[in-house]
Subunit: 428 residues, 2 copies
């Protein structure tokens, strides 16, 4: 938890730096709110027992509850972050950071704004978060749903198969093209020729030069969706340049994202360093129609957002610490109050009470007469920097011993100067 | 959420000051773990649907999961805090801060220690938390389960009725004695004489003088449970004196606490200021046998802890702010980047990018050409202290305008000095 809270705090700091407020939604939603939002994955939703009253399920992500909240509250613009747990009846895989209960860290911008301004900020937020977490090199893959639709149309995919082919393309980050091609042909009854045409597109990635190449593709440019998608990508890449993240992003035609609700730009961040094979650590995109699904008049609120997969990040950081042999402190104790003789517990209590009063983080043994060695050992094991040692004779002289645990240096301190001396040694 | 997070952070600060580490447990527990722990209230437990696999329920409090965690992990000593949500199918009452999903803030000390040392620290923790939250005057009522048992025995209550009579006494904070007496006699088939004897005890409260009085009660002193309970109380009051909270605590024989699992000292904090009628805001006690219920060999781990009812605290603080007409800021934005003419959005992006890079909390409009008045209004409404205003002419001279929102004072600042000037105005 100490490690996790450290990560979550860094993420929240980035979200707050971008002016987001935080909201909370209940852990449960009406079952009907979640129905029809997650495609095949709906089978992973945890349902509550019908005990009378509403039929409830545990939230599956933070995006659908956010959209429901906007529609119910008639909120037409907000920049919010939400760090909370979601629930999926999936097969857990501890080493990959896949759990049934796990944190998501979401940042979303809702509102009717000018093209790509909020979208570019989401990419900047991903970049700041991953940089601040010091996870090593990473790339943010970008693509656009309209462009994908334009490519599918140009290749001759029937319109009703767009989403199915899209979710086949989505598997390219885990499976080789041959397998994805097979799925398109065998499972999704696509013509082999059409699949091959798709293959020639989705293998391409790059930057502005890829946009120029695609602009020369006459068949593709006959698709209005492709034209508008490319225009959006071009503007986004320009904004990425202004936001100084050009070296972090890559325009990747194989990126498709599984969820149905994306309507514009989509993105996914992966770590590219050695031995961090954990797949995507952040993802998101634009979803302009989701809020409308919860509004009685179908009123849309355009949204774009990012979700950080912190469980994967936790496991990367844990592995890193394990390699270095480093331990995370689980408490923040600054000073321990110890006694060198028996029955000094009341004196210890008087002193620790003063330390708490002064706002210092302090603890002591709950035994009346603990052994000095055991007390000092506790301090070393828990990396407590300072220890106050009480002895009868010193107490009679109005003094205590202040010991620096690491160096074992000791000094006699007047009791009335104790807090001041402790602060000095702690450096504040 | 801004208000809530502020409260939770203050509470966590107190818990950490006392050297507690934090742990997390899943939101769901095996149904069998919760069974038989909450008496009549078990009907309020939220069950998950049986979708195959384990039979689960949502946690009802943080104490039972903590005890289960200690037993499963063979942890024999720990000082931990846990701030998380629990779930009860209760009738919500918004104004009283009673919800079906609500936060609890728990601090517990587990381990075999000397009498009353951890217990006194829990009282000190309550006191520090309530003081730091600035909720006005409060009292911490204290009692001891052994003493209550001794009193019941001395009055002639049959042993098998102890817990039932105890839960009747527990209602004295909400109901007058007459009603409680009626419940004892009519529902719990107690003799009227016995009930009256109990009444003469449970109406008493005080400090050390009450201990001396009870010591003179010969019938009571024939009960070993009463003798040991009084001894414990006396030691606790002495420790409270050392911890400088004597003026906050009151020994109150009417305090009984509803839960069955308490075995020693029990306590409850109430606000005593005007117009804050929200009942108890913190409570807890010693429960030495709960962990053993989850251990195959019945191995006990003595525990004592406190739970803060922060939802009630939230509603008290909300009411206080409403009275004063004060608003809580929902974001922490330090500086807004505005433009005075059209199409300066790329310049704004360049500047805000530098501000983020410098760690400043900054936001801007997502419109290419927002109106200046609308931008300034946003700053005033959201109490953003500073605004950088871009104008074409100033930009050509390498300058921007820096405006203090409250005073409307403006100054021209060289772009290269912008971050420095902002920090100066923010006071760091």
């Amino acid at each position: 938890m100490a490690l996790r809270l450290g990560v979550l705090e860094k993420v929240a700091t980035v979200f707050k730096r971008h002016g987001a407020q935080t909201i909370d939604t209940p852990i449960f939603e009406l079952k009907e709110v979640l129905t029809g939002k997650y495609g095949e994955d709906a089978k992973l939703i945890y349902d509550l027992k019908d005990q009378g009253g509403e039929i409830l399920a545990l939230r599956y992500d933070l995006t659908v509850p956010f959209a429901r909240y906007l529609a119910m509250g008639k909120v037409s613009s907000i920049k919010r972050y939400h760090i909370a747990k979601v629930y999926r009846r999936d097969n857990p895989a501890m080493t990959k950071g896949r759990y049934r209960e796990f944190y998501q860290c979401d940042f979303d911008i809702a509102g009717q704004y000018d093209p790509m301004l909020p979208d570019a900020e989401c990419l900047r937020v991903i970049s700041e978060a991953l940089t601040s977490l010091d996870l090593g090199p990473y790339k943010i893959k970008l693509n656009h749903r309209s462009l994908l639709d334009g490519i599918f149309a140009a290749c001759g995919v029937p319109h009703e198969k767009f989403r199915a082919i899209c979710s086949a393309v989505d598997k390219l980050d885990k499976s080789p093209w041959d397998e994805v091609r097979k799925e398109m042909i065998e499972e999704k009854q696509l013509d082999g020729d059409i699949a091959d045409k798709i293959g020639s597109y989705v293998s391409r990635q790059g930057g502005n030069e890829l946009i120029h190449e695609l602009r020369k593709d006459e068949i593709l440019m006959k698709q209005p969706a492709a034209v508008s998608g490319l225009e959006a990508m071009e503007l986004l890449l320009k904004y990425c340049d202004i936001y100084k993240i050009t070296d972090k992003v890559v325009f990747d035609l194989s990126l498709a994202r599984g969820l149905d609700y994306y309507t514009g730009i989509i993105y996914e961040a992966i770590l590219t360093g050695d031995g961090v094979g954990v797949g995507s650590v952040a993802g998101g995109g634009r979803y302009d129609n989701l809020v409308g699904m919860f509004d009685s008049k179908n009123k849309a609120v355009p949204c774009v957002g990012v979700s950080l997969g912190v469980e994967r990040i936790f496991s990367v950081i844990e592995a890193k610490l394990a390699t270095k042999g480093e331990k995370v402190r689980t408490t923040e104790v600054e000073v321990y109050v110890a006694s060198a003789q028996k029955n000094l517990h009341e004196e210890r209590m008087r002193i620790i009470s003063d330390l708490w009063e002064a706002g210092l983080k302090a603890e002591q043994s709950y035994k009346k007469s603990p052994k000095l060695l055991a007390q000092l050992q506790h301090c070393e094991e828990n990396s407590i920097p300072l220890v106050v040692i009480l002895g009868e004779r010193e107490l009679m002289n109005g003094e205590v011993t202040l010991r620096v645990v690491k160096t074992r240096e000791e000094s006699q301190v007047r009791r009335e100067n104790l807090e001041k001396e402790i602060r000095k040694l702690l450096g504040y």
